[in-house]
Symmetry: C2
Subunit: 121 residues, 2 copies
C-alpha cells in the first residue's frame, strides 16, 4: 500500500530532502510535484520540480551528477519526502558535495568536489 | 559575517531540516520564520514556526523532546536551513525517532523510541 501524499492537487509541491544513502550527508532540499515523484519511482533517478523554471527536472540531466534513489521515505504528515540516494559527483551547482556547505555565519564547512565551470561552462 | 537568508519578510517561512548530529539520521522537516531562527540561535534549542497553529514554537516544549542545536547551516540559495541537533527522546509525535519512519510504500522502517500516549496523554 502506497502512502497517500498530502498533495492538494497535481500542481502542488512538497519539500523533499536528498540524503546520501552511504554517508548520511544531507545533500539538498528541493520540491516535488506528483509527477516528479512518479518519474523518480519509474526511473530510479531523482526528479524534482523547479519553482523558478516552473518545470519538472531530472537532477543531473545537465551536469551528469545524477542521484540514484535507493529509497523514498515520507514523514508522519505525508507532506515532506526523503530521498535516500547515491550521488554522482556533487549535489550542488557550486561544486560542493552538499548544498548545505556553509554555516549560518558564512563559514565554509562542506567539501568542494567538482569545478562548476568545467561541468556547466 | 552572517549569511543573508532569503526571507521575503518577517512573516516568510523557510523549510528547515533537523538532522541528528551524531547518527546522521534526518529527523524532521519543519518551517522557520526569521524570529524562529533568532530564538534558536539565542537559546541553542530548535525553534520552528507552525503553519497550522500560526505560531512560533520550541520543539519539545510540550513533550520534553528538545533539540539542542550544535550548528545551523544554510543551503546555496539561502532558502533552506539545516539544524544539526542532539535530539532528546524522539523527534516525531508518533513516538518514532524520526518523522521519516515510513517508506512511500507504507513500510515502517524507523524505530519507535517512546510512547506518545505517555508523553502527550
Amino acid at each position: 500500500m502506497s502512502v497517500d501524499l498530502a498533495f492538494e492537487g497535481p500542481d502542488d509541491l512538497l519539500p523533499t530532502v536528498a540524503q546520501d544513502a552511504e554517508t548520511g550527508e544531507v545533500l539538498m532540499l528541493a520540491y516535488v510535484s506528483p509527477g516528479a515523484v512518479e518519474r523518480t519511482r519509474e526511473t530510479g533517478r531523482a526528479h524534482y520540480y523547479s519553482r523558478s523554471r516552473d518545470e519538472l527536472w531530472e537532477k543531473g540531466a545537465t551536469s551528469g551528477n545524477v542521484q540514484r534513489v535507493e529509497e523514498v521515505r515520507v514523514d508522519c504528515d505525508a507532506d515532506a519526502l526523503l530521498y535516500l540516494v547515491r550521488q554522482e559527483g556533487g549535489a550542488c551547482h557550486t561544486g560542493h558535495e552538499s548544498c548545505f556547505y556553509r554555516t549560518i555565519d558564512g563559514e565554509e564547512v562542506g567539501e568542494r568536489v567538482f569545478d562548476p565551470d568545467e561541468v556547466y561552462g
